[in-house]
């Protein structure tokens, strides 16, 4: 038991070091923070504008009022920030590792390869999006008078954790197919472009699209269901459902990586 505990301490220390170095590299480009902030604010105002257009034609969008829809948008922005901070910088490198044959060195390291590939780098440029997303959610929750009790906040972060895990698993699944296809970076672009649908509540879509976004690509569980739980549109048991789905997706991503590695033949050999 103690050795397992020590192992986790070790891993966290290593991750901390990794993140320190990657932050140091990224902070060389401080102008990026300004660009990122302008870009996030621009996207926020644009999204608010488009949302206001939807509400010009009626008081509800798929049964959601404006502030409730803002919560969905806020969760989307947080997930987008997580993508910029962790998913995109790390998982985009898997492709290069496979292409250049440097995946060999990763596999030889005395640390879990999936962990290393997924969390080696952390980029600060996702922070503006995450912060503004949280502010947006707080603003909307106050507007629709949901009380911000400690319990609700706990629920919120649990949901957020689960949906980030689903998002991560989707990305990792796609990125690990590079073992076979090498150039799959564009596939993650396709994923990203479909995930945009998560900006709006699922019930605003026609039935066909809603089915695709729930069962084929679980976008509904990324933003809409967490928002429903926080607002109280559905009972708290839904948290269990999101957590179970997240666990399933994570387990699949883990299995799939092990399976993919069986097929890894290394470059130039």
């Amino acid at each position: 038991m103690k050795s397992k505990f020590n192992k986790y301490i070790n891993i966290s220390m290593v991750l901390l070091r990794f993140w320190q170095t990657s932050l140091a590299i990224e902070l060389e480009y401080q102008l990026n923070m300004l660009i990122e902030l302008v870009s996030v604010l621009g996207n926020l105002f644009g999204s608010l504008f488009i949302l206001s257009l939807f509400y010009k034609s009626g008081p509800l969008l798929g049964g959601w009022n404006f502030f409730e829809a803002l919560i969905v948008l806020g969760i989307y922005m947080i997930l987008e920030g997580i993508t910029t901070s962790i998913l995109a910088p790390n998982l985009s490198r898997i492709v290069n590792h496979v292409k250049n044959g440097t995946l060999d060195y990763v596999l030889l390291k005395p640390i879990d390869s999936q962990l290393w590939l997924s969390l080696r780098i952390i980029s600060p440029w996702g922070l503006p999006s995450q912060l503004i997303g949280i502010l947006l959610i707080i603003y909307s929750l106050v507007s629709i008078q949901v009380d911000l009790s400690l319990f609700n906040i706990l629920i919120f972060f649990t949901c957020l954790f689960a949906s980030s895990l689903i998002l991560y698993s989707l990305w990792f699944l796609l990125a690990s197919t590079s073992i076979w296809f090498v150039k799959v970076w564009n596939a993650t672009e396709v994923l990203r472009s479909i995930l945009v649908a998560g900006r709006y509540p699922m019930s605003a879509y026609p039935r066909g699209l809603r089915t695709i976004f729930t069962f084929l690509i679980p976008i509904a569980f990324l933003t809409t269901v967490p928002a429903e739980v926080i607002i109280g549109r559905v009972s708290n048991e839904y948290i269990a459902i999101i957590l179970i789905i997240a666990a399933i997706f994570f387990a699949i991503s883990r299995r799939f990586w092990k399976f993919a590695l069986l097929h890894y033949t290394s470059a130039s050999s």
Binding site: I50, L61, S193
Partner: protein, 271 residues
């Protein structure tokens, strides 16, 4: 041997463009699978179509003959053929040190990127055709056959729109001479494109003041105009084409000036 040197130069230039095109087309054919994935990632107008189809958008648009499905399907097609990634290529070429040998070539670098984009679009044609066929099965009763002359005109307008969008990005790509990581600028350029071009909402649904601001930028002419043209919605064709040509010339002037300054400033990576 006697020849007219002026004409000769033009002919030479055309020959260069032709071989660049053939060359880039062969290169792009190698990346068919990737281009298909890029094409798939342009589904935003279809997602927006799904959302708008559930609202009472027709009440917001005063103009007669507006058809929501046609508009967003046209926007989807226009978007497919106006994709630009020149900032990214140019930045990579500078950072990797490939710019110096390119500068020694007698053809301005602009044409290399421009032809590569056009070659990519030609590779895209069958992919987009396939996607439209699939869409016609998924969304029955929403398809229409534009007249042949309309189709030719639309193709020309899309090409013009692509050129203007390319020029915008090319002008901003010049900042690569001064800063590293200019590709972050691309993120910024995407924002007005998303919200002012009519990609996520028809511009006719905008409040008057905001649509007036939008029309001061080149963006509505890049997507909304060709999409309206293709969907058979009434638009002032001559005026819009003139505005597109104006933007193309204006941006060409600016980017040429910036290019001259930039090349002087350029010191080559690793030199």
């Amino acid at each position: 041997m006697s020849y007219k040197p002026r004409q000769h130069k033009v002919l030479w230039f055309l020959r260069v463009i032709k071989s660049l095109l053939i060359n880039q087309y062969a290169l792009m054919m190698e990346y068919r699978a990737e281009i298909a994935l890029w094409a798939l990632s342009g589904i935003l107008p279809l997602i927006m179509l799904g959302l708008w189809s559930q609202t009472n958008i027709q009440d917001l648009i005063e103009l007669q003959g507006f058809n929501l499905k046609r508009y967003f399907l046209s926007a989807f097609v226009v978007r497919q053929f106006t994709v630009v990634w020149v900032i990214f290529s140019f930045e990579e070429d500078i950072v990797q040190g490939r710019l110096s040998p390119f500068l020694l070539q007698p053809v301005p670098l602009f044409w290399r990127y421009y032809t590569s984009h056009i070659a990519e679009q030609i590779t895209r044609v069958p992919i987009v055709a396939l996607m439209i066929m699939i869409l016609s099965v998924v969304l029955p009763n929403s398809f229409w056959l534009p007249k042949f002359t309309e189709l030719i005109l639309t193709t020309f307008v899309i090409f013009l729109a692509f050129t203007v969008r390319f020029m915008i990005h090319w002008a901003f790509a010049m900042s690569c001479f001064w800063v590293e990581r200019a590709s972050s600028i691309e993120r910024l350029l995407l924002i007005p494109y998303l919200f002012f071009s009519g990609l996520v909402a028809p511009i006719d649904t905008f409040p008057k003041e905001i649509s007036q601001i939008a029309y001061l930028t080149p963006y509505p002419y890049l997507l909304s105009f060709p999409a309206n043209l293709l969907s058979g919605h009434h638009v002032n064709i001559q005026l819009n084409i003139m505005i597109l040509i104006f933007w193309a010339l204006f941006l060409f002037l600016i980017s040429t000036l910036a290019w001259k300054k930039g090349v002087k400033h350029f010191t080559a990576m690793g030199a």
